[in-house]
Symmetry: C2
Subunit: 347 residues, 2 copies
C-alpha cells in the first residue's frame, strides 16, 4: 500500500521539477535532472504506478506527469525537507521588520509586506482574536459638540478608535464623566463578558452626574459598539498583483476570480480562523487546492501559522500561492516571520 523508497524519490523529484518549471515532467527529463540509477523505462513504470495510485496526473496521453492534490499532500506530509532559511534571507526579513513597532497593526502590516516580498506570493496577516483579552482603557474625547472619539485599549496592546455621534448638548465634562465611569467599571473585564448590560451597570454604579436614562443609554450604546468593534478581525494582505506574473494566472479570468474572493476580508479572515481551529496543534497549517473550502481560490494553496501575543495563542499569518508553490521554502519563511512577531509581542 505504501510507497517504496524509489517511488517516493520519484514523486519528490516530480514535484520539485514541476514546481520549478510549471511544465509536465517526463521520464527522460527526470533522468537528466536527477541521478536515478535506473533507466527511464523503469521510471516510466513507477510513474504509471504512481498515477494508478492517484499521486500523479497526466494532462494528456503524450505529455509528462504533474502532481495531483494527493501527490502534493504526500509531498508536504512526508517528502519535503523544511530547512532553515539562508542567513541572507533571514537578514533581508529582519531588515524589513527590524525596527520595533509600537502597535500590533503596524507590525502586522510590515510583516505582511515582508512576507509577500520574500515569497513572491500573496501574504496575509490577521489581527489577534481578542475574546480572551480584557479592556484596559476606554476614553471618550469630545472632538466637537455631538462628535466623540472613543478610544478602546485592550490588554493585548491593541488600540482601536471609532468616531461616534451623541446628542449635541452634552458637555465635555458630562462625556468625560461617563467615560470615566464606564472605564472604571469595565477595566479588567474580559471582552466576552462585556455586554450592553454590564456597560450600563458600570456606568450607573460609578456615575456622579445625573442624566436622563434614555440619554445616558444612547451614549452607552455607542461606547458598547466601539468596544465590540475593537474585537473585529482585521486582515492585512499584500502581494496580490504578483500573482499575475505566474503562468497559472495568465488567464485573467482566474486572476479576477481570485481577487474577487480576496477582496472580501471577512471571508478570508473567517477561513483562516476555521483552518486554525481544525489544525490547532500544528506548527503550520496547509490546505492544498481542493482542500480549500473557499470559493474562487481554484488552483491555490494556503499555508498559515499562528503567532502569539504575550505567550498566548493569538492571530494568524499566512501565504496564498499557486498549488505549485515552493512549500518548504515558504514554510520556513513564514516560520521565520512568525518568530519575529512572537519576539516583538513577547510581553
Amino acid at each position: 500500500m505504501g510507497l517504496d523508497n524509489r517511488k517516493k524519490e520519484v514523486l519528490q523529484a516530480i514535484v520539485d521539477d514541476y514546481v520549478a518549471t510549471c511544465e509536465p515532467v517526463g521520464s527522460k527529463a527526470l533522468i537528466d535532472r536527477h541521478d536515478f540509477m535506473v533507466s527511464s523505462a523503469t521510471l516510466r513504470n513507477d510513474m504509471a504506478e504512481l498515477e494508478r495510485m492517484g499521486y500523479l496526473e497526466q494532462p494528456h496521453t503524450s505529455a509528462g506527469r504533474i502532481p495531483s492534490d494527493k501527490g502534493y499532500r504526500e509531498y508536504v506530509n512526508s517528502l519535503m525537507k523544511v530547512d532553515h532559511l539562508s542567513d541572507e534571507e533571514g537578514r533581508e526579513i529582519k531588515e524589513k521588520l527590524g525596527k520595533s513597532f509600537d502597535e500590533i497593526a503596524s507590525l502586522l502590516k510590515a510583516a505582511s509586506a515582508a512576507l509577500a516580498d520574500q515569497t513572491g506570493y500573496i501574504s496575509l496577516a490577521v489581527t489577534p482574536k481578542l475574546t480572551s483579552s480584557y479592556l484596559t482603557q476606554l476614553k471618550m474625547l469630545m472632538i466637537e459638540p455631538g462628535k466623540v472619539l472613543v478610544v478602546v485599549v485592550l490588554s493585548a496592546g491593541v488600540v482601536k478608535n471609532r468616531m461616534v455621534r451623541i446628542p449635541d448638548f452634552l458637555t465635555q465634562e458630562q462625556v468625560a464623566q461617563i467615560s470615566n465611569a464606564v472605564e472604571q467599571g469595565l477595566s479588567g473585564m474580559p471582552l466576552s463578558e462585556i455586554s450592553l448590560i454590564t456597560v450600563a451597570t458600570a456606568a450607573k454604579d460609578n456615575q456622579k452626574v445625573e442624566l436622563p436614562d434614555a440619554l445616558l443609554n444612547q451614549v452607552l450604546y455607542e461606547a458598547y459598539t466601539a468596544i465590540k468593534q475593537a474585537d473585529n478581525l482585521d486582515v492585512y494582505m499584500d502581494g496580490k498583483h504578483r500573482m499575475l506574473s505566474l503562468p497559472e494566472f495568465s488567464d485573467t479570468k482566474r486572476a479576477q476570480g481570485l481577487f474577487d474572493t480576496l477582496s472580501h476580508d471577512g471571508l478570508v479572515a473567517g477561513y483562516v480562523d476555521e483552518v486554525a481551529q481544525q489544525d490547532g496543534k500544528k506548527e503550520y497549517m496547509i490546505r492544498i487546492c481542493q482542500e480549500i473550502t473557499l470559493e474562487g481560490l481554484d488552483g491555490c494553496s494556503f499555508i498559515t501559522t499562528t503567532y502569539n501575543v504575550g505567550g498566548k495563542v493569538a492571530g494568524n499569518i499566512g501565504v496564498i500561492g499557486p498549488k505549485r508553490m515552493e512549500y518548504s521554502k515558504v514554510i520556513s519563511q513564514i516560520n521565520f516571520v512568525r518568530m519575529m512577531i512572537d519576539e516583538q509581542l513577547k510581553q
Copy 2:
C-alpha cells in the same frame, strides 16, 4: 484648420462606437449605427482626412479606425455631452453614501467604493491637504508605561492617531500635563506654522511640572511628529481587480504594470495633486493616456475632481480607467459623488 460639422460628428460617432465595442470602427459600421445622410464613401473620405489631421489611427491597412489621444482630447474638450445622471444611478450612489459619516476617512472610503462600483473602473479618493487647517486638539493617552497614544484633531474634522514610545518612568500625570500644555499653546495654530520650536515654546510657556530639558524634548519631538504625520495624504483606492475584465488588460503584463504603479500610494497621491495644481480652476481634470506623466499607466486615462471641506478647496477624488473610457458618464458620476461629499463636509 478646424473641423467642419460633419467631421466632428464622425469623430464623435467613432469615439462613441469604439468606447462601446473596443473594436476598430469602419465606415460601413458607422453608417449602420448612426444616421448620417451621406454614403460610406463620403465617410471614408472624412475618416482619411481625420487620420491625416491626427485624430484617428489605423491599427492596420484593412481595419477600421480608432481614436488617437488627440482624438479623445478633442472629444472630451468639445464633442461629448456631459449630461445628468439618471435618477436610478443617482439613487444607487446615494444609497451607498446615504448614511452620514462621522469621519472623513470613512466617508472617503465609502465614496471610493461607490465610485468604483458605479463606474466599473478604478476609483481613488485622497484625503484633504491640510496645510490651511489648524490644530484643535492634542491628547496623549498613556496606554502602558512607555507607550503613549497621541491623538491629533484638526480643524477639518480630521482625526489621526499614532502610537509613540517615551521613557518608561514618566507618569500618567506628567504626560497629561505635557499634553495639556502643548494643546493649550498650539490649538488654533495653522499646521504650517507648527514646528519643533513652536511646540517647545508652547510646552514651556504652559508647563507646570519640571522635567529635565532633554527628557521633555524627547516627548515633544514625538508629539511634533504625530502632528506632522497627520498632514500626510492618504489614498483610498478601489476596484482595481475590475480592470482585469477589460480587453485592454487581458494581457497580464500590462495589468501587472498598472497594479505595480498603483501600489505606490504616494506616487498616485502626488500625481493627483500635481494635476489639481495645473488645472486648479476647472470643474474636473482629465489626463488622457500619454498626457499622464506617471509611469506604468500606459493606455489609461485619468479623471479627477476636487471636493471641499467647509467650503474651502480640499482633497481630490477620481477615476482611472482605460483610455477607452465612458468619459461623459464617468464625469457625471464623479461630479455626483463630489457633490455628495461636499454636502456632508459642508460645515
